[in-house]
Structure formats: C-alpha cells, structure tokens
Symmetry: C2
C-alpha cells in the first residue's frame, strides 16, 4: 500500500509511520512541524520506502501537490492542533489546523480518487456526559474548540464518504501516551519536576480521572482495523481502566526517585476550561470486534514515564 | 435589541429582517450577494433602524469590522450556501460559505463580547434515517457537504457556547418556502414551465416526500424562541405533514393554468446524490414548547406558488 500520513511527524503519527513501514507499506509523511518535530522521524529519514515532505496541510494546494507527487491509496490523517489548552486562547488554531486540514485531506482524496481514510478523532467530541459514552451516544456537545473541530471533521467525513464511496475508519482516541509525547499531564509533570524537584504543581484537584491508552496499543488497533468497508466505520478506542491525575503524579515522582514530595493543587474540578474532568468510554464495540488494549491505564502511564525518562537520558526506549 | 443578521439579504434572512424591524429592533444586515439578492431587501433600504453592509462573512476581518461598527447584542446567522446541488460539484463552497461563516460569526462574538446567537441549521444534519428524526437521534451522518458543514457548525457552536457563556438557539430547518425563494422544487418548476409550458421535467421518481414549512411560520418561531437560556437550545422546526415532488408539480401546474400537462421523470430515488428522498421530523419538542406551524405542508406549497406568481407579475404578495 502507498500510505500518506498527514501529521506523520507528530507523536502518534510518527509511531504509525513506524508500523506502516514495518508492514511493508511505502510511506510519505507530511508535517508542518507545528506540533510535530523532526526528532520523531529522524530514525526514518533515508530509510527505503519512507519520504518526508514538509508541508502545511491547512493549505489545500500545498497538500494537493503532495498527493500529485505520490498518488497514495490510503491516507492516514493525524494532523490536528491536539493541544486543547493553547486553542482556548486562540480558537483559530482549531479552525486551521484541525478542521481545515481535514477538509483539505477529504477534498484532495476526492480530486485524486483516493478511497481509503483513517481519521484520528477524539473523546472530546462527546463533551461532558454522565456515565460512559459509546459510539451511539446522542447529543454530542463538545465543550472545547478542539472537540468542536473534530466533531465537525467527522461530519464532513460522513458527507465525503457518502458522496465519493470512501472507506473511512474513524477512531475516537482517549488520552494517548507513550514515547515522543509533547503535552499532557505525564509530560508536564516531568518537565516541572526537572525545573523544581522539591514540589509538584497540579492543575485542578487531582481527581480528574481519564483512561490512558499506550500509543503501541493504539497503533496496533489502527493496523488491525484499517481495511474498513465502504462508508464510515467508527470506534471508541481505549482502555477500560482509568488513572487519576494524582495517581499520575505519584507514578512520575516515584519513577524519578522523588516519592513523597508535596503536591500543590490549584483546585477546582477541571484543569482548565474545556477540560472534561471525569470520563469513561464504552468500549464494547471494539472489544466485540476482537481488540483489547494489552496495557491497563496505570500500566500505560508507568511505561510512558519509564520511556520518557529513557528518552531524556538518550537511551533507546524500552518496548 | 441591536440585531446583526448575517445572510440578511437571503430568502429567509430578509424575512427575518422584516420581523425584527417590526418588533422594534435596530437591524444591520450583512450579505455578500452570493445567494442573497438586493431585491429581497430593497423595501428596507433607507428605512429607519435598518442598515445594509455588503460584506463577505467568510472573511474574518471583514465580518469583525461589521461588529466593530455596530456593536450588536444579538447575531442571527443565516449565511450559508443552501444550494446542496451546486456544492456537490464544488464542496469548497460549503467550507467557505457554510462552515467558515459560522466559525467567523462565533469568533467575532467572542472577540466583541456578544452573547446571543440564532443559528439556522438543517434537517440535512441527520442523513438518511429510518422513521422520524428528533433532536436526540444518535449517529448523525450527513450525506451532503452542506449537511456536513452545518453539523460541523453546530459542533463549533457547542464549544463556543460553553467557553463563552453564549445563549445559542439552533433551529434545524426543513425545506422552507415562501416569497423570495431562490431554489428548490417550487422555484425550479415555475422556471421550467415559463421556459416550456408543454411539459415538466421532474428529477427522481417524484415520490421524494418532504415537509415544507412556510417562511412566515419559521420566522414566527424564531421570534417566539429567540430569548434562549445560556447554553445551546436546539429545536427541529417544521410541519408534521409532507408533500411529494409530484404533488408540488400538480399544485404548480394547476395554479399556472397548466393542469394536465405531462410530467417527465428522470427516475431514481433521489433527485441528486446527497438528496434525502423520504424524510419526517419528530416535532414533539417544539410542539411541547407551545409552537405549531399555522400552515400544513401542502398549504405552504400552495401559498408559495401563489406568492411567487404574484411576485413575477409585480403584484404585492398575498399574506
């Protein structure tokens, strides 16, 4: 297969590039380095079957050139802002980097006759819901610009898939962690502790509890389900366990040899406006389809902390 | 109230301008004449309390200037492509005129501290569903770029409303008809019959059946519910009767004195790809809130045909 990975130098995108090459695909990775970094793909540069194009997918003609040169038969679209906090101050980031990139991917697929799409959606499309949320939960009501742009992307995928006979696979990601992470609690805590190992500031009351999925498990699921039938196939992807922010802080401090230092909570329910404090996925659909994460949420956090500390020390990641 | 009507020279927008002025509001009407026409508002030009600005709401800074000059306290956003067939050939029309206009309205509201929004959504957000669709129907799956862009707009309104304490009223419109109509079966049939009164070409098999709401009833509902509480208030708006395309053809030919001419069907279920052939709304929410259309779907079609023929002859519309 000829795979175009949009946002391929990002955290998840780069792991997907690894897996696609492993599976024997030819891969063209497109990234504008807005969030993605060259470091994530430096091990792939020069490798047979891999090509990198620095391009901004929010510009239609620029993305179209990448299609023209490569003629992909599968597009993996992982480009997005992905940092909810930054766009809270400037929602235009979501318009451009999350919504417009999706529209452009779809329009390029239409123009170039590409039929297969993977799209990285998010739990943020649901908004604040009581109890667990499944693919058929009604009244989706995102409370962040990021969630709004992703739900809008799903809506446009539905239209394009119908009008152009696309085979579209959409995963609604939970919090995903692992090596090459660029934001989120695990990343922030390690950074804060490097700056000041005597205490740890925690946004909110620490009780925000979310399922954390390791990126290895996520990429495994993408590869498993990528041959989707015509139309739109949608899955919640995640783990059926969850980890509180305080538990993450405990794991990070323990692994860094800082167990017992004081945690300083800023208070309140959520870490920031648009954050969803308690969250649980209904995963029965993907479980019924034969897939389960190999790591629990706590195990994913533990492994990620170890891998991040390894990366910092320049060691190869423990798999 | 100081009301900014985006898309105010359009079919529905211009009727809303009439009603807002009637209610004593100061009205600034913004339109780029992409679908709207000056004719729709010529009776308002020069009237006290009414101002027209020719501006393209898909350009953020242009729209922002309109906000700056007027400082509205209510925005009615009716700008959209609205012609599903035209965007089937060029989906960029929906990106720009339907989605980007909504994003820009929201962003201007955020920047200028405006809290009240009315948004014209559509039955096209549902896609093809069995049975009747209500506000809580899950798995919304638009099959047109227009429906995709409108559902995406709703998603972004959800996020902005939460983040900025907006009071947002969203109506999902069915087919709306009445004087100043610019497209759709009633309009097309009259135009075709003016060109050739000996026969009538009908897209599809004529059995596509949809509820038609008269614009007077719609505008009445907007005025009735416009003081929405904080958050998003969503209603299906329509009539609980419906009219087939063949019945429309019968009404049009009868009113034009052409009863009995042959109808030539192009065949197939829908008129075009992205058209939803059979459709029925669950209206229990808006009925429970005390509103009902005064005209049935057939009555709305009959009245619209009469009014359109009056317009053509330069007569004042029969109310």
């Amino acid at each position: 297969m000829r795979a175009l990975v949009v946002g391929g130098a990002g955290f998840i995108g780069s792991h997907l590039c690894d897996a696609l090459l492993e599976a024997g695909d030819k891969v063209v990775c497109v990234d504008n380095f807005f969030i993605g970094v060259k470091d994530n793909i430096k091990h792939l540069l020069g490798r047979t079957g891999f090509e990198f194009i620095e391009a901004d997918a929010s510009r239609l003609e620029v993305l179209s050139d990448a299609f023209k040169g490569f003629e992909p038969d599968y597009v993996y679209h992982l480009a997005a802002n992905s940092d909810i906090q930054s766009s809270a101050a400037d929602p235009l980031i979501e318009f451009k980097n999350t919504y417009a990139t999706t529209f452009n991917v779809l329009e390029c697929m239409r123009r170039h006759g590409v039929k297969r799409l993977f799209f990285s959606s998010t739990s943020a499309v649901y908004g604040e819901k009581e109890g667990s949320v499944g693919e058929h939960t009604p009244d989706l009501a995102p409370i962040s610009y990021y969630g709004g742009a992703k739900l809008g992307s799903e809506a446009m995928i539905s239209a394009y898939a119908y009008m152009n006979d696309f085979h579209a696979l959409i995963f609604r990601f939970p919090n995903v962690i692992g090596p090459r992470l660029t934001h989120g609690a695990v990343y922030d805590f390690i950074k804060r502790l490097r700056a000041d190992p005597s205490r740890l500031k925690i946004l909110g009351d620490g009780r925000q509890t979310k399922p954390y999925l390791h990126v290895y498990d996520l990429v495994d699921a993408i590869m498993r389900f990528r041959d989707a039938p015509q139309g739109v196939t949608l899955y919640n992807v995640g783990v059926d366990t969850a980890t509180s922010v305080t538990r993450i802080a405990e794991i990070v401090t323990e692994k860094m040899g800082l167990g017992g230092i004081p945690f300083e909570y800023t208070g309140g329910r959520g870490g920031w406006k648009g954050d969803v404090p308690v969250f649980q996925y209904d995963l029965s659909k993907i479980h019924a389809a034969g897939w389960r994460a190999t790591m629990t949420s706590d195990e994913a956090v533990e492994k990620t902390v170890e891998q991040t500390l390894d990366e910092e020390e320049g060691k190869a990641c423990r798999r």
